[in-house]
């Protein structure tokens, strides 16, 4: 094999140093990095490293917040950002499937779908072309970080605010090409079952690498954080964009009123409309965004939050007809006022560029909290943000919210609570300022995890396990689940050579 076809570069303080970390702010260590430009280069680089006994960390856009892309105990980073082409479009029974390289980002994909120009590498059949031109298409999963790569989305199973309507992210991957230097290349398609003996302890929540009964192998791979193989090609299942989408951000003067309103919305069942997102923001989250606005010019278009706002609920509603939308909006308005909300404290949007402001706002919440941690780190570099990705049955929303705020106050910590209302999937971000506060925050997380598990929840729903949450992950796996994971890992990557430190 000729190494010159792919270039391995040295990582040092002046070059590629930023590739040693991701959005988790975890700092890794590695001597070499390679940016393959296509599938062949990626495979060749992986085999070259394997033959020399070098362990590899595969990276996408490094937007993950659990540290899965951070090289730890690795000798080579395989960064896929230059493999970002759209390869082909295929039509089958009225559905469209788009083959892409894993480095393609969500924003690149959205731009291509919106413009109608895919610039695919392979010729597109007239049937596929006609179907593509005949409707507006989308990749339904909607993580707010649009610079995330599709490979990263697949690796972590990252979802977005619309998961409540569109379901798990893995559903939208129809095939994946997986490469393991020790085992070779697989073309895995939807419908290929994971044949390993399923574990008996079934959970309502997806646990990475744990195989359930008659589970699709693609669903096992999605969320496996690169531990089973290098993903070099993905087939996305596109869906038709809904006819109309409205986003409504409702501010409340009282947090309990906001939470009660949000919970009531989860019980809403209609045939003509779909709730494509329901999010909650506490006062600390709103204030953090206001603070970030002072320095982030991209947030300049977001108006100041209404005076007196102490919490907010964002919901996105989709409908095919104007009548259905009108009815749904009237009902929402009535519910809002019943809950004690004020119509004049709402923001509404229906055009893509207006909805983009809401996406920016939603994304600005964790970003502003990260910014706050970065400020603290200037004084105390060992400080980091401690966040949760806990979920539980939706009816636990109100007790959980009360518990989080009460415990944060009692521990004397600063923190913000925001996130998905369905599955009570609130993200608590704790912002310690001292070493003592870090300890107290970790204790809180452990105590909450115990209580979450006791109420039938799970400790990591959408952000991945990576390196930051693996202790917690392993603590809540049964012996049978651990054994099953070990067998799976051994089958795909017997030498433990791929993405060491993730999950296991």
């Amino acid at each position: 094999m000729n190494k010159a076809e792919f270039e391995v570069k040295t990582v040092d303080a002046g070059h590629y140093f930023e590739y040693l970390k991701d959005e988790s702010r975890l700092q890794g260590n590695c001597q070499a990095i390679c940016f393959p430009k296509d599938e062949t280069q990626a495979e060749d680089a992986a085999v070259w490293a394997w033959r020399q006994g070098k362990r590899v960390t595969a990276q996408g856009a490094r937007t993950g917040i659990a540290g899965a892309a951070v090289p730890v105990e690795s000798d080579l980073i395989l960064n896929m950002e230059q493999m970002n082409r759209i390869l082909s479009l295929e039509e089958k029974d009225g559905e469209l499937f788009l083959d892409v390289e894993p480095g393609l980002t969500l924003e690149m994909l959205e731009r291509a779908l919106a413009s109608g120009r895919l610039n695919a590498q392979e010729p597109i059949s007239p049937q596929a072309q006609e179907a593509f031109a005949g409707a507006a298409w989308e990749f339904a999963p909607n993580p707010t970080e649009k610079t995330a790569s599709l490979g990263g989305v697949f690796a972590t199973g990252a979802a977005g605010i619309n998961e409540c309507a569109v379901g798990p992210t893995s559903r939208y991957f129809a095939a994946a090409t997986l490469f393991s230097p020790a085992r070779g290349k697989w073309e895995i398609r939807r419908g290929d079952l994971a044949v390993q003996e399923p574990v008996s302890s079934q959970s309502r929540w997806k646990k990475p690498l744990v195989i359930g009964k008659r589970q699709d192998l693609l669903d096992v791979l999605c969320g496996s954080e690169g531990t089973l193989g290098l993903v070099t090609r993905l087939k996305l299942r596109l869906t038709r964009r809904p006819g109309q989408t409205w986003g409504i951000l409702c501010f409340f003067e009282d947090e309990e009123q906001a939470a009660a309103f949000a919970f009531k919305r989860t019980e809403k069942k209609t045939q003509d409309t779909v709730c494509r997102g329901l999010e909650f923001f506490d006062e600390a989250s709103l204030l953090a965004v206001e603070e970030l606005k002072k320095s982030a010019s991209k947030l300049r278009g977001i108006p100041p939050i209404p005076e007196g706002a102490r919490a907010a609920v964002y919901t996105e509603i989709c409908a095919e007809s104007e009548e259905a939308m009108d009815t749904a909006l009237q009902e929402l308005l009535a519910e809002l006022e019943q809950a004690g909300g004020k119509e004049e404290m709402t923001w509404a949007a229906s055009e893509p560029e207006e909805l983009e402001k809401f996406r920016l706002f939603r994304h600005a919440v964790p970003e502003s909290l990260n910014h706050s941690v970065d400020e603290t780190r200037k004084r105390l570099p060992s400080v980091y943000k401690i966040g949760t990705d806990f979920c539980a049955p939706t009816e636990k929303l109100l007790p959980l919210l009360t518990m989080y705020h009460k415990d944060i106050r009692a521990a004397g910590l600063r923190g913000a609570v925001f996130g998905h209302v369905f599955d009570a999937h609130l993200h608590v971000n704790l912002l310690p300022k001292t070493a003592g506060e870090i300890d107290r925050a970790r204790e809180l997380i452990a105590s909450w995890a115990e209580r979450i598990m006791a109420m039938g929840g799970w400790i990591a729903k959408e952000n991945g396990i990576g390196k930051l949450k693996k202790e917690l992950y392993r603590a809540y796996l049964s012996a049978e689940e651990r054994e099953s994971i070990a067998k799976l890992k051994h089958y795909f990557d017997p030498d433990g050579y791929l993405n060491p430190g993730n999950l296991l």
Binding site: G301, P303, D326, L332, L333, E343, A348, S350
Partner: protein
């Protein structure tokens, strides 16, 4: 207070088709949106109304599809809207546009304060506001970066004049052209946005004007002739300087000094990398 805000529909993206014969934009084919600067003008108009009472009328000139931007103005809180549309208005340059708008504003009964966005993203002239004031025979105040006060008698502003700030006040009626720095446009409320779908703008045609001479409007009434549309070529001559950091710095400094001595300009890129 009677407040008008003049707004415009512009192409939504970077790409728009141009008629090779006339040099004019083919608006019917392009995806369209409200001119981004006009959001700031609408916000300024709504704030002036909140302070002084009265009503805000949004006025736009364009084909029938342009009424979409009036809906945006309704959503944000405009009380009335007028679409100025007639085949006779097609192909208007800045002069004819300003004249048409002045006729429309007169037909609507006149206004105390007229807001415009600083410029549009398609024409980019930043002249329509001042030209409109001229046609109406009232003062104009442009490049507004902050509105300090609006009273029934005057508007006081801070103007950003390329490195200089000017604090100025202008008696009403007048035309005020506002920039992006002026405010942060609001988001529509849910009820405001829903109600906007049911509001209909007034349609103004040439027959509604005091001046009904077709030759005064549209392409015929426009002194500007577009002879050619092209992207200017940019000559980029670069030179790589080599050596240690200190040596490169010394070479660069010597060249800059020489340029200044010879009275030449120093541009970005003159020194390649």
């Amino acid at each position: 207070m009677k407040i008008a805000v003049c707004i415009k529909q512009v192409p939504a993206g970077q790409e728009a088709e141009i008629d090779r014969e006339t040099g004019l934009l083919i608006r019917e084919k392009a995806a369209a949106r409200l001119n981004p600067y006009d959001y700031f003008a609408i916000e300024a108009a709504l704030c002036a109304r909140e302070k002084n009472g009265g009503e805000v009328t949004a006025v736009t000139m364009g084909p029938t599809g342009a009424k979409d931007v009036l809906r945006t103005a309704f959503e944000l809180g405009a009380d009335r809207g007028a679409l100025v549309s007639s085949p006779a208005f097609a192909g208007a340059d800045v002069y004819a546009t300003a004249y048409t708008l002045s006729q429309a504003l007169r037909a609507l009964g006149g206004f105390d304060l007229i807001f415009c966005g600083r410029q549009t993203t398609d024409g980019d002239t930043a002249q329509t506001g001042p030209a409109l004031a001229e046609q109406l025979g009232i003062p104009s105040i442009s490049w507004i970066s902050e509105i300090l006060e609006v009273t029934p008698e005057r508007i006081a502003v801070r103007q950003d004049l390329s490195g200089w700030e000017l604090f100025a006040a202008c008696p009403l009626p007048c035309v005020a052209a506002v920039g992006r720095e002026c405010n942060t446009p609001r988001m529509p409320t849910l009820r405001g946005k829903m109600a906007a779908t049911k509001k209909e703008p007034l349609l103004l045609r040439i027959e509604d004007f005091f001046d009904q001479t077709p030759a005064h409007f549209g392409a015929e009434g426009s002194p500007t002739r577009v002879t050619r549309v092209f992207a200017p070529e940019r000559a980029k001559a670069g030179e790589w300087l080599q050596g240690t950091e200190r040596e490169i710095l010394a070479q660069a400094t010597a060249r800059i000094r020489a340029q200044i001595k010879s009275g030449g300009n120093v541009h970005d890129g003159d020194f390649g990398g």
